[in-house]
């Protein structure tokens, strides 16, 4: 994990710099920084797990039944799969100073394409196109969506939020165009394996997200690509001057984000055995951005943590699980989520920490007139 650039931590105009970027680089060693940054997300996750254990004694219980592993923890890892995938793609985009708010729409498009291509008869024996073609087709369309976003951002130079807003608005229309405004039901049995099947006793979706995470981690941490991404995120112009092909890299990030959303669309449509152009992946972009933020990736670009994003996504899924298992009405879900965002946001703000710190110290100032 690369460190915060040194000019930030010891520059004279530090208060100036801190208003734009959090100076968390007090610990200079990269490993110290990593542990520091992941501490809060991990504590949050641990607390949520604890709440679950208190609410339900059998929460940590995992058992082997019918050749599969069963248990709440497995369930969380399984259900979090679409969110983890989308969040991983989002992390890469955000690390390069972008944002992709069209992922929810791309999830819907991918699900719609897959469902339409599978189509077929009600008895589930035949498909309109072979399964492989349907999956490849859906992923290709999703990557095309990413390419469109990337072209707008890196090619034309639009602001990321507005460039992806276009697809966010139009995307649901396109998805409904594909499904003809209906909810397409899928009857073809083999397709259900993607989102509901088991491999080696574990949910197949688990292997999907672990695979994508491993691929991304390998690319970013084992090749120079990670440093390039970081460089573009910290300063695109400087990165370009330094010889990094920033435009191609940015475009690739959006394509990858589209790919992730496409896979998530496959998982979701396979799991619910249908594709709903209007509601599939609804609010997914916001959950993904939330997961990335919870994981400690700065929305200002440059600093990212794949592990943090994974933890962030798991926090959201565990929170949902806790709310259900506590027997609280699910309506409260949103309010709790909002409260969590507010708290995490404030904890991440250097200004907030400084003010709380000042407040805590004030009484001990000798002869404090203030």
């Amino acid at each position: 994990m690369p460190d915060t650039p040194s000019w930030k931590s010891d520059a004279p105009g530090r208060s100036q710099a801190s208003s734009h970027r959090s100076p968390q680089g007090e610990g200079t060693r990269a490993s110290a920084l990593l542990s520091h940054r992941l501490t809060w997300p991990l504590v949050t996750l641990a607390l949520l797990l604890l709440v679950n254990v208190v609410a339900n004694q059998r929460f940590l219980h995992i058992e082997w039944r019918d050749g599969h592993l069963y248990g709440s923890l497995i369930d969380i890892l399984n259900r979090a799969a679409p969110l983890i995938l989308v969040s991983l793609g989002m992390t890469l985009v955000i690390a390069m100073r972008g944002i992709d708010i069209s992922v929810g729409a791309v999830v819907a498009i991918s699900a719609a394409v897959a469902a339409w291509m599978i189509g077929g008869s009600v008895d589930g024996a035949t498909t309109r196109l072979p399964l492989g073609v349907a999956i490849t087709g859906a992923l290709a369309v999703a990557m095309l969506c990413g390419l469109w976003n990337g072209a707008l951002v890196a090619g034309i130079g639009m602001q990321p939020i507005i460039a992806t807003l276009i697809l966010m608005v139009a995307g649901r229309g396109i998805a409904q165009l594909i499904t003809d405004g209906q909810i397409i039901t899928i009857y073809y049995q083999p397709y259900f394996f993607i989102g509901g099947g088991y491999l080696l006793g574990l949910p197949f979706s688990l292997f999907v997200w672990v695979g994508v995470l491993a691929l991304l981690a390998g690319l970013l941490y084992k090749t120079p690509l990670g440093v390039f991404v970081q460089a573009v995120g910290v300063n695109p112009a400087a990165a370009r001057v330094a010889g990094i092909r920033a435009r191609q890299l940015t475009t690739a990030a959006y394509v990858f984000c589209g790919f992730c959303a496409g896979v998530a669309g496959l998982l979701i449509s396979s799991n619910v055995k249908s594709a709903d152009g209007n509601n599939a992946g609804q609010l997914m972009e916001l959950d993904a951005i939330l997961a990335v933020t919870l994981g400690g990736t700065s929305l200002l670009g440059g600093r990212f943590s794949l592990l943090g994003t994974l933890i962030g996504a798991l926090i959201i899924q565990t929170l949902t699980y806790a709310i259900y298992s506590l027997g609280v009405p699910p309506e409260i879900n949103l309010v709790v989520k909002a409260a969590v965002v507010f708290v995490v946001m404030l904890l991440q703000s250097p200004e907030f920490r400084a003010q709380v710190w000042a407040l805590a110290r004030r009484p001990s100032v000798p002869g404090g007139a203030a």
Partner: protein
């Protein structure tokens, strides 16, 4: 149109998006009038205002936020929360409409000001803060009730069904009148008050605005308070339109509002644009819907696709016009 032709004659580039929007609106209106019988009438035009009154009010508030360089994702949820609070106060607690409306407006202002305070005081990202506000407001709706509450109060429905006869067979609703008043007030605030000038200055460069001694902190909080107020007022007008409160009202309205502001020629980077353009942004969105309804063969989802296409064209136009490298933060 009130855009002075001599400024257009001098080809002031800042007016180009606004002129393009107005031109497009007129062109679409002309095409509709030529294609469909009964399209060219005062009532069809007035219906644009009546059917989109709440969107206009919300978009006006959003214009200030975007002009200041921020964004407010919470407006749709605040609209829903307003309808919900109104409905429950009137129906379940027996309030009369006016105090209930007052409470809702105060709630909207406080909600916006709270988010503005967080954004200003702790230098948080508007995107994330208003996203949390969006979750919070939507969640509060469901805490009140997960079902739709219809408003049967007699005085309230009288207000909702009240129409001002403008001419033979052309009338306008109370909601549309409120929207127009709101727009007029916003035009004055944007171009004739310290608040408006400060908003433009912050959007241009917050740092310069501070150095110029402008009341930046107050204005930043104010901008979100205004947006919250507009969203709450939009919610009130929304209940005139639907006579109900529901947690699923106005889902995605923040997108429509942002689209209207952008199509109206305001740059999302802040500092450039006109509140007046937002009116035409909203009217253009409404006209697309009307055209698709009149056509009858196109399905409703074409609206979204066309709006997306329009957004793309306008962003492209703005991008080609205003080359501002380095202004890429959201």
């Amino acid at each position: 149109m009130s855009v002075a032709p001599n400024t257009l004659g001098r080809l002031d580039l800042r007016f180009l998006p606004l002129a393009a929007t107005i031109g497009l609106f007129l062109l679409m209106g002309l095409a509709g009038s030529l294609s469909y019988t009964g399209f060219f009438s005062a009532q069809v035009f007035l219906n644009l205002l009546i059917d989109n009154a709440f969107l206009l009010i919300v978009a006006v508030g959003m214009s200030f936020v975007i002009l200041s360089g921020g964004i407010d994702l919470s407006v749709g949820s605040v609209v829903a929360l307003s309808t919900m609070v109104l409905a429950t106060l009137i129906e379940h607690h027996g309030w009369s409409p006016l105090p209930a409306i007052g409470v809702v407006l105060v709630m909207g202002v406080s909600f916006g000001a709270f988010m503005g305070f967080l954004i200003e005081r702790f230098r948080l990202q508007p995107f994330i803060v208003t996203l949390a506000g969006m979750f919070l407001a939507r969640g509060l709706c469901y805490l009140i009730s997960i079902d739709s509450i219809s408003i049967a109060n007699e005085a309230y429905s009288t207000l909702a069904y009240w129409r001002l006869e403008l001419a033979e067979g052309a009338s306008i609703s109370l909601g549309a009148l409120i929207a127009i008043a709101c727009l007029a007030l916003a035009l004055f605030a944007a171009h004739g008050s310290t608040f408006g000038r400060t908003v433009y200055a912050i959007g241009g460069s917050e740092h310069s605005a501070i150095l110029m001694g402008l009341p930046v902190r107050r204005t930043l909080v104010g901008v979100y308070a205004v947006s919250g107020l507009c969203a709450a007022l939009g919610g009130v007008v929304f209940t005139f339109y639907t006579l109900s409160g529901y947690g699923l009202h106005a889902v995605g309205m923040e997108l429509d509002a942002i689209a209207a502001v952008v199509i109206g020629g305001t740059l999302l980077t802040g500092g450039v644009g006109y509140v007046f353009g937002t009116l035409f942004g909203v009217l253009t969105l409404g006209l697309i819907q009307t055209l698709i309804t009149f056509d009858g063969t196109l399905s409703s989802w074409w609206t979204r696709i066309v709006v997306g296409l329009l957004l793309f064209l306008f962003c492209l136009l703005q991008r080609l016009m205003v080359r501002r490298p380095g202004a890429g933060s959201h």
